[in-house]
Every structure is written in structure tokens, then in C-alpha cells.
């Protein structure tokens, strides 16, 4: 789909896939005709549940799997029959895959030494890279003497020191605890901006993808469900899967009455999108877009509901509401009770729920 990018494309895409297909053991379809282009200098994420094909896609880029059909280009070059050790990419592996018999320095120097660079140059570049990822003092340590976060930095340094055209990252933060993960997310974004290397980042963590990516693709069952900017995927999911996978969503079925009106279990609703009267649609609205009030506000798409349950999460209140036979979930920011317009609702209370037409997105027809 055509999207606006924050970075205008320069030259050929860093990565280009056309109709890539991969079948394992002649029955498991890992990739079912995937096409995508990653722009140069972009932080691109592949997001999806396990088994969706995102790791296979990354391994095809790295050269560890050979696609059964389709074309793979990296920096404009066709990668057919190009083995991993001749590709202009480097990989940060899921469990780091640091060489246990080498110290940090030798791990990072490995790629440069394979290129037979003079040792003085190797030394200079490795030291600069260790400095950049802030582990210069660990150069003589062996991998088993490092913490998870330190190993991650070594793995990054080992890949980045080769100045790849594209850096492939396979769930690099998956094994770390939450706090460290947040830290390294910021670190990764800083490195990417500084080095201007294209990142292809595989993750199953939707929040990570939303925070870090310039653009992202949501994958499912070997296909790409949607590609775009993070906010675009979040605000305007095109399929129920994307709507549900990226955060929580209220899904409402209905049949179009007019181009901008639809009959739903909540009653007739107005939408911005253009509908074909008589056809069935599935609508999605994010919980934080629902507007709750005690008295009717008079705006469009307002329905009555009853508070069935309240979940307090600290930053927000989550209300589970029954509206007729439908269940809706609404988030309200936990502001001060004295804030004008701020309300808290009680169990069993009757409330008015407004679904702003501009936030009602068609995710299926």
C-alpha cells in the first residue's frame, strides 16, 4: 500500500522481496508469496505471532534458507545462489550465538579477520565499535562471563563492525527482562540513527515494533497482513487480525445502510469510510477512543451501556461494558479526580458511550 514515509527513498530499496515462497518438508508453508521493499536507512520491523514466517523471512535474507520461488534483492543485487558469507548483510541472532571459545574482542574481530584486513585496522575498528556500544572494558572477557545485556551488545558490535548494508535482527531482546529491554530499545534506535544502517527487525512484541520502527509489517500464516507506519497500522488496521494483534480492539459487525451509515447490534452508526449499502462489514475501534459520560453529550454514535467490570492498571482505568448483547472495552486515562471532565464510574452504573465516526475503522467486509 502506498504510504507516506518520513524518509524519502534514495536509490534502490535496501531490501526487495518479490513473491517469495518457502515450503518446509513439502507441506508446511512458511512463506506464501511475500513481497515487500525496505528503504535504505529504514528501521523496518517484521511483527507477528510465532510461526507466522517472520523468522524464515529473515533467514532467507541472511542466506540460511533458500526460497522455493520468488526473488530476493539486497542493495539492488539479486541474491540467488549467493551464500551467507558473500552477502552484504549481518545478523544479530536470537540467542546471540557468540563464539564461546573466543573473547569479546576476537568475537567482534571475526568478520574483519575473515576479510583479511590488516590486524592494525582490525584493532582500530573493533575498539571503536566496542566503544560505541559501551563495552570497551569487557574486551578480554569470554561470553560465559557476560550478562544477557552485555552479550547482546557484543552480538550487535560483532555484526555492525562489518558495516553491513542491512542489519538483520532476530528477536534480539527476547531473552532479556523488561527493564533491560526498554534500555536496549533506546540504545538500538540511537545506534541506527548514528550509523544510518538499514535495520530489519523481527519481533513478536507489538509494543517494541510500534516504538522502534519507521515502518513495519504484520505477518500471519506466511503472508503479510499489512505494511505501513506504526501509527497507521495502529489507528487504521485493515484486517481484524491486525486490529487485535496490535493492542486491544473492539470489533463490531454490521450491514451498511447508506455509504456512511451502518446497522450494528449497537444500533445505526455513522462512519467516515465509504460503504456499499447492503454489504456486511466488520468495524474496529480502539478502547481509548471510546468516550464515556454520565449524561448524553449529543454527539453522533452514542449508545447506552452498563459497567460490568473495572480493571485498574495504574495509568488508566479499563471498563468492561455491556451494550445490548455486545461487550465493549474502554480505557480512560487516570487523571486527577478534580480535572474538569474527568469522571470515574462505578460497577453496574449506566453510562453513555460515544464511538467517534473518525475512529471507527473498517477492518473487514
Amino acid at each position: 500500500m502506498a504510504t507516506e514515509s518520513r524518509k524519502p527513498p534514495e536509490g534502490p530499496p535496501a531490501v526487495e522481496l518479490k513473491n517469495v515462497r518457502k515450503v518446509f518438508d513439502s507441506e508446511t508453508v512458511a512463506l506464501d508469496g511475500v513481497s515487500l521493499a525496505v528503504r535504505e536507512g529504514e528501521f523496518f520491523s517484521l511483527l507477528g505471532p510465532s510461526g507466522c514466517g517472520k523468522t524464515t523471512l529473515l533467514r532467507i535474507l541472511g542466506g540460511f534458507e533458500v526460497p522455493d520461488a520468488g526473488e530476493v534483492r539486497i542493495a539492488g543485487q539479486d541474491m540467488k545462489d549467493v551464500p551467507p558469507f558473500h552477502r552484504p548483510v549481518n545478523t544479530v541472532f536470537q540467542n546471540y550465538a557468540l563464539f564461546p571459545h573466543m573473547n569479546v574482542f576476537d568475537n567482534v574481530a571475526f568478520g574483519l579477520r575473515m576479510k583479511r584486513l590488516p590486524e592494525a585496522q582490525v584493532r582500530r575498528r573493533v575498539e571503536a565499535m566496542l566503544e560505541l556500544v559501551q563495552i570497551a572494558d569487557l574486551a578480554r572477557r569470554r561470553p560465559h562471563e557476560l550478562s544477557g545485556g552485555q552479550k547482546q551488545r557484543v552480538a550487535l558490535a560483532r555484526a555492525l563492525v562489518n558495516e553491513p548494508k542491512v542489519l538483520l535482527l532476530d528477536e534480539p531482546l527476547g531473552a532479556l527482562d523488561l527493564k533491560l529491554r526498554k534500555e536496549l530499545q533506546i540504545e538500538l534506535m540511537r545506534l541506527q540513527m548514528e550509523l544510518k544502517i538499514t535495520f530489519v527487525y523481527v519481533t513478536h512484541d507489538q509494543e517494541e515494533a510500534l516504538v522502534m520502527s519507521d515502518r513495519m509489517a504484520v505477518m500471519r500464516d506466511g503472508r503479510i497482513e499489512q505494511i505501513g507506519l506504526p501509527e497507521e497500522l495502529y489507528e487504521r488496521p485493515r484486517t481484524p487480525f491486525v486490529a487485535r494483534f496490535l493492542g486491544t480492539s473492539n470489533l463490531i459487525e454490521g450491514r451498511a445502510l447508506e455509504p456512511h451509515a451502518i446497522e450494528t447490534p449497537l444500533g445505526p452508526l455513522r462512519v467516515v469510510a465509504e460503504l456499499t449499502p447492503g454489504r456486511d462489514y466488520l468495524l474496529s475501534i480502539r478502547p481509548e477512543k471510546l468516550r464515556l459520560s454520565r449524561a448524553p453529550s449529543g454527539g453522533p454514535n452514542e449508545v447506552r451501556a452498563r459497567v460490568r467490570d473495572i480493571v485498574y492498571t495504574g495509568a488508566e482505568n479499563q471498563y468492561i461494558l455491556s451494550a445490548g448483547e455486545l461487550e465493549l472495552i474502554a480505557y480512560t486515562l487516570n487523571a486527577d479526580i478534580s480535572e474538569p471532565g474527568y469522571e470515574e464510574y462505578d460497577y453496574g452504573e449506566e453510562v453513555f458511550v460515544r464511538l467517534p465516526p473518525e475512529n471507527l475503522v473498517v477492518v473487514g467486509g
Binding site: 558469507f85 549481518n90 545478523t91 550465538a97 571459545h101 575473515m114
Partner: protein, 258 residues
């Protein structure tokens, strides 16, 4: 119950060491015949060391063990790495075949090799039974043991390590040389030690693949025993017992240090 187990252990250990002790003690006995103790002597050892043929047989035994171990270690390691790294047709069968030399009665392997060598000799005039055929025979079973030991070491290896090497620009050989081999080295060493001691321990394969002029110590012992028991053989056996025990202890110490 505990006491019973202890007594049992003691008796079995006695059973295990009785024959060895008998040989060693008798090798220092002055009596040429029988087992009556007639006083301490090292005469049989002196006689043994003055026998030039024994030196030759010992040399043969060692040459076979060293050369076959070297060949089997290299080939066995490569076989294990090949099985680990590549997918190909018939791989499952090959993997099963690896276990066959380990369990098949050695006589079957011995006669099969004898027949094979005879056949090749007939066809090419090559492969006279000699140290060379013994070495080949030993390699056939050592190979499997080395490959299995290395294989178990490879199984504990993270497959991503070889991929990481390739990702960083190392071709197949460089990956093997700088990443795989250093990591499986303890397994290779253990396999080589096992192969070496199997070669020294073997009698049956040697028996069927040896020819004139390629007598090894076990063959010599076999021949002598068929003619009757002598104190020289006691002495020779005692030396071999001591050497193999020292070898095992040394090997263990070596492997433990890694």
C-alpha cells in the same frame, strides 16, 4: 541391604582384579611351571627385554594403533561434521550404519575384511595382508566410534554458531577451522583416545587381517598361549596391563583438565 550391596561390590571387584593380580604376581615367580611361589625374580622381564622379536611386535602394535587412530580421527570427525551439517538422501541409513560396527560381533567384521582384502588382492595384486591391512581393518571400526563421540559433542553445539560464522564472512572451511573444530575439540580428543585404546585392545580384527611379518603383541600372545603358558607371557602381559592402566589414567587426567 546396604551391607549386602557392599559385600557384593567387594566380591565383584575381587573377581575383576583376581586374574590381573594372578598374572602380575606370577610374572615375578621363579618357578617356570605351575603356580607355586618359589621366590621373587625379574628374570622373565630381562628375558623379555632381550628378545628382539618382542620389540618388533611392540613396534608393530604401536604403529598400527597410532596410524589407524590418526586416520580414524580425521575421517571420523569429518564424517560426523558432514552428518551434522548437510542434509542428503540416505542420511538416516548412514546414521544407523554408524552404530553397526559398534555392536556387530567382531568376528563378522574380521571375516568380511579378510574376504574383501583377498578379493582386492586377486583383482589388483594389491593389499597383501600386512600392517597396512591391519590398519585399514582397525580404521573401519574406530571410524564409527570416533564419529559417534564427535557426533554427541556436535549435538550439544548451538547450530546458530556455524550460521553466525557464515554470516560474518567465513566459508565452509573457515567455519570448520575457526569455529566448529575448536568447539568440538574435546570430543575429537576423547574419540581419538577411545580409538587408540580400542586398537590396542583389539585381537579379533587383527587376527583376520594380519599377514606374515605383521605380528602384533596380542597375536604373539595368542600364538604362545596355544602352545602353553609361560612366565615370559606373564611378564609381557603385566607390562601391557601397566601400560594400558597408565594410559587410561593419563587420558582421563588430560580430558578433565579441559
Amino acid at each position: 541391604m546396604r551391607l549386602l550391596l557392599r559385600i557384593h561390590t567387594l566380591l565383584v571387584l575381587l573377581f575383576l582384579y583376581l586374574p590381573i593380580a594372578v598374572i602380575v604376581v606370577l610374572s615375578f615367580n621363579q618357578s617356570r611351571f605351575g603356580v607355586q611361589w618359589r621366590g621373587f625374580t625379574t628374570a622373565w622381564y630381562e628375558k623379555l627385554f632381550n628378545n628382539p622379536r618382542i620389540a618388533l611386535y611392540a613396534e608393530n602394535t604401536l604403529v598400527v594403533a597410532v596410524v589407524s587412530t590418526l586416520i580414524a580421527t580425521v575421517l571420523g570427525t569429518l564424517l560426523a561434521v558432514g552428518l551434522y551439517r548437510y542434509r542428503f538422501r540416505g542420511k538416516g541409513l548412514l546414521r544407523f550404519l554408524l552404530y553397526v560396527p559398534v555392536v556387530i560381533p567382531d568376528i563378522v567384521m574380521g571375516v568380511a575384511l579378510l574376504l574383501f582384502f583377498a578379493w582386492v588382492r586377486e583383482a589388483t595384486g594389491f593389499f597383501r595382508l600386512s600392517l597396512f591391512t591391519i590398519i585399514l581393518g582397525h580404521v573401519t571400526f574406530q571410524l564409527a566410534y570416533v564419529a559417534l563421540v564427535v557426533k554427541s559433542r556436535l549435538a550439544s553445539l548451538d547450530p546458530a554458531l556455524e550460521e553466525a560464522a557464515a554470516d560474518l564472512g567465513a566459508g565452509g572451511f573457515a567455519t570448520f577451522r575457526y569455529v566448529t573444530l575448536p568447539l568440538i575439540w574435546p570430543g575429537v580428543l576423547a574419540g581419538a583416545l577411545l580409538a587408540f585404546s580400542l586398537s590396542l585392545d583389539d585381537f579379533v580384527i587383527t587376527f583376520f587381517t594380519a599377514g606374515p611379518g605383521s605380528t602384533t603383541l596380542p597375536l604373539y600372545i595368542f600364538g604362545s598361549v596355544k602352545r602353553g603358558v609361560t612366565p615370559e607371557i606373564h611378564a609381557l602381559s603385566s607390562i601391557l596391563i601397566a601400560a594400558s592402566m597408565a594410559g587410561v589414567l593419563l587420558g582421563r587426567a588430560l580430558l578433565r583438565r579441559r
